[in-house]
Amino acid sequence: MKAFTYERVADAAAALQAVARPGAKFLAGGTNLLDLMKVDVEMPSHLVDISRLPMAQVEEIDGGGLRIGATVTNSDLAADRRVRKRYPMLSRALLNGASGQLRNQATTAGNLLQRTRCYYFYDTAKPCNKRSPGSGCSALNGYNRIHAVLGASDACIAVHPSDMAVAMVALDAEVEVLSADGNGRSIKLRDFHRLPDTTPQVETALEPGELITAVLLPPAPAGGQVYRKVRDRASYDFALVSVAALVDLDGDRISTARLALGGVAHKPWRPVDAEQQLVGKPAVAEAYQAAGTAAVAGARGYGHNDFKIGLAARTVAAALEEAAQQAGPRKG
């Protein structure tokens, strides 16, 4: 690990000032940052410890939503009674990620900012455009079983590994940010992560020196919520494919549909066309299957990951059906 200097700051203003130093990075839970520092993929020269800033609260906001502080741990967020009751897909997504120990430490903002688990990104002996721009993509013609089938480019086919962010994208979350000049702004989570295009090293819409202070959840639409994760191991594994689905019914027809996919792209994938084509349709298996097909429109496999396209379509259909069953038949 490369040498670095360390400081712990008392408040957000001090954090912004401290992170302005060249080579500085924020440290919160550190579960991913420290892991990457050990293999010299991350090499900050200065760490600004924000783990003790008063940002670990989940609060009600006007209109019925929740404001989740940046340093709320994944465990605490998953266990929050309001999240369990009103946003069960978010609890489920969190609980299906990582291990108990890691969830106790990993934070909300850190989860959004975690880097891909592409093994070529971790291997400093291999070309990787994300780690070393211009060096090439080892996954493109390599062992790419875990890689993207949607929105990828020839520069990078890595996927974003978060479960939490998939549910949050389905729930229309926004990221609350403090800019270097001290002004606040918010970014829709669905616009927060970028597709790789020709610059896979630029992963989010954050500007240099910005601090995530919270994630804002609007009130969830009525309906059944499901988070379904498909992985090689039954627990403690990243998703091959995951789906967050919300369905509400009006009589025997679908009145609301939300979908987001994980494990398939450089960002949580929100297939808006698939959502829109469900509204007004009878709540039957054919509608869910058609939505699954629509959700992977334009998908491209890279050899070892071809199976993900069909798997994603089937997982979307299964998650929609389960969410519709939870919503139950309603009087129109």
């Binding site: 040498a3 200097t5 360390y6 712990r8 001090a14 550190g30 369990r84 609890s91 108990g100 106790n104």
Partner: protein
């Protein structure tokens, strides 16, 4: 001062300078609001105070030192094991302020003023912690390398169940009381790998320690 400190002094060859740097305490104090405090230059040892198994310990550490290495190499507490050193195996699990964490993925300096409990602090040879005793009774290990992490993790895990925290195996998220059941324990303990695959006996030991004889 432990041997590892003497070794470090020898390598640095600046024993006096190191001693002088200790006690400067720039980072031991809480920083003032609104401003970034002076940062110790690169290469400086940083004062770290940890309460480990009930005793307050002061160390001067390179900021790169993990909590795991601080425990093993600087405090001589070798019960906590280094497996993967990447948060994947759980062998380094300790309790930080009562919560289980992977000590390999924590910087010791970031744990300043936290209360750490390791396997050495759970029980003694004369009076084993109930979880330790249950692992012995149920033969919850083979080679034993993962066992300190398994036991610390199990203690933290049962506390999470007591506090009503759900898991991926929890059928009813709305329930207030979480069941102590085999499926729950297997899911909640998935961050602790046992390459001898003593899992059935580990689960039995945890159920026993939790006061359950069956799942």
């Amino acid at each position: 001062m432990s041997d590892s400190h003497l070794t470090r002094r020898g390598i640095l060859g600046t024993g006096v300078a190191l001693t002088a740097l200790r006690g400067t305490g720039a980072l031991a104090k809480e920083p003032a609001a609104g401003e970034s405090p002076p940062v110790a230059p690169e290469g400086t040892m940083i004062d770290v105070g940890l309460t480990v198994n009930g005793s307050y310990r002061q160390l001067a550490l390179d900021p790169r030192v993990s909590l795991l290495d601080a425990l093993r190499d600087h405090l001589g507490l070798t019960g906590t094991k280094k497996g993967c050193d990447h948060g994947q195996c759980g062998a380094c699990t300790v309790l930080v302020d009562g919560v289980r964490r992977n000590s390999c993925l924590n910087l010791a300096v970031a744990c300043s003023d936290r209360e750490i409990v390791t396997i050495e602090g759970l029980g003694s040879e004369e009076a084993l912690h109930p979880m330790q005793a249950a692992f012995v009774v149920h033969d919850g290990f083979q080679c034993g390398y993962c066992t300190p992490g398994q036991i610390c993790s199990a203690v933290g895990m049962l506390s999470e169940i007591e506090r009503g925290m759900p898991s991926a195996a929890t059928a009813d998220l709305a329930a207030r009381a979480m069941p102590v059941a085999e499926a729950e324990i297997r899911e909640r303990m998935s961050g602790n790998i046992c390459r001898c695959a003593a899992y059935p006996n580990i689960v039995a030991a945890i159920l026993d320690a939790a006061g359950k004889t069956t799942g």
